[in-house]
Amino acid sequence: MAIGRTHSVSLLGLQGAIVEIEADISSNLPSFVLIGLPDAALGEARDRVRSAATNSGCSLPARKLTVNLSPAALPKHGSGFDLAIALAALGAAGEVSAESIDRVVHLGELGLDGRLRPIAGILPAVVGAARAGFETVMVPTGNEDEAALVPGIRVVGVASLRDAVIWHGGALEPEPVEPILRPQSQSVDDPELDLADVMGNDEAVEAMLVAAAGGHHVFLLGPPGAGKTMLAARLPGLLPSLDAEAALEVSSLRSLAGFPVGGALQSRPPLESPHHTATAAALIGGGSGLIRPGAAARASHGVLFLDEAPEFASSVLDALRQPLESGVISIHRANSVAHFPGSFQLVMAANPCPCGQYGARDQECTCTPHNRRRYLARLSGPLLDRIDIQLQVRRITSAQLRVSADGPRRTTLDARTRVEEARAIAGARLASTPWRLNSQVPGSWLRGPHARLTPEVTASIDRALERGGITMRGYDRVLRVAWTLADLDGTDQPTADHIGRALYFRKAMTA
């Protein structure tokens, strides 16, 4: 008899692949066959579509209906294909214009009454449709504002299957229904914490500024109550606002994770602070069937804060090594590989020992040396190797509190301006390279002809290298941080003073 054809989007990670949905009505006893590797939720689309169509006043014909989701070898998940399946079937039955549905990408889950329910991951799906060259996408009313954030594609919001059929030229009377909306999100950008709240600890504040300017990963070591968490929570505020592409990516990840996105892209860098009982799947992403992004992916373009880092399972921490290296999180399954962005800035905080008091000036540590060594040994060497700034944070004394309360303190807004200026300088210097931030520059380039420093400037680290005080890798890290310090000060090259301060920023583990 007839064939109806339309399109929808299947998400694998953040990548949207266009799925062609064909419906064929053949002369046989009524049945509904759905093929093309649907998962359980998608398999149940059969019953949702049949009921929704009947309750929308356009029953499916009492014939054998075969719906194929192509490419047939790509596994498909979730209920977002309902609208496309219903329209393909109605197209095959001649109830709607076949040409009209063929030009449009359809997304949305159907309720039994024919109303459309909003789905998660609409933002990356619409981006996928726009990239594939489609001009129009039809989404549930509840997702309309989110879909409209994608430039270059026309978004049609419909409240029910009946509205969709009418839009595609079906001969039905409009029947206004109450659209199903998502619960309203609170403000997308959480109020940011101000750097001025941090008392004392000037060098730690300085270290956060350097971390923000150069994109360096940070490790904070210190006793409980030293303000590690407070410092880490203020790092996202120091980062510049996201550019359009990064904002789309961050909002897409939120959408995919099932969080409401609302009518505006998230413009501020996200902060994710998973609890230390998190599993590898919770941190980098996973799940059977539908692969969901983990905390590290959601922290992309922002900050991933691991408080009490040694309490994390070491296998979980080491799962971060690949994204730290490549900026991409790849999750492998038997039949697919999902990629998520993973260019987050890592901040780890730890106590120096299980009791937490080691190195504190005011209290005695009760741990044995063996326990102490084992505690921090849980952080693997390769992981710490990737962290440029390792800083010891001390508890503030009452004298420092007095001094700090009097003097002017740096606010987040001032600090962010300085970070933006420093990043602009670094960006101009690295314009001819593939890197944008000092933390991304490999050591060979820093020691090479483009950026080589005079022996007088590097004398202190040359000597440390000779004595075995730092390794070659540590040497490169000091150079990287020194460049960021120079950018912050507005000098063209690091001076011996910058090198000295950079050396200070990596002494936590040796203290």
Binding site: N28, P30, A62, R63
Partner: protein, 118 residues
């Protein structure tokens, strides 16, 4: 006779005349054996056709064709074999069809014929 049986009889009669009008030769009707009943056996060209007829006055409880379930089809398949056994001769090609008769009270009758449903 209950109302539903009267409706069923009427539907079968309508289906039979529909088939005759399309050039089918009715061979047998309401053939019974211990396993059940075949509504219509007809000959169409060289093919022997076993027809299951379903009649409804409304679609409120589903379309008549939806009432032909997999279990019913399997029984029809066994019945067809039993009929062939009971009627020796050459039965080259056998097929099973379904006919839906929608006969609303006081309205026009609709007949839908599906070939080779099994």
């Amino acid at each position: 006779m209950a109302a539903k049986d009267t409706l069923g009889r009427r539907g079968e009669q309508l289906a039979a005349s529909y088939l005759e009008g399309r050039g089918y030769e009715i061979v047998d009707r309401n053939w019974r054996c211990p396993q059940g009943e075949i509504d219509i056996v007809a000959r169409h060209g060289s093919e022997l056709v076993f027809v299951e007829v379903k009649t409804r006055s409304t679609v409120a409880f589903g379309h008549p064709l939806e009432a032909i379930t997999a279990v019913k089809l399997a029984r029809l398949r066994r019945l067809a074999a039993a009929w062939c056994e009971a009627h020796p001769g050459r039965h080259d090609a056998v097929r099973i069809d379904g006919i839906a008769v929608l006969a609303p009270r006081g309205g026009p009758v609709e007949i839908e014929h599906l070939e080779r449903v099994f």
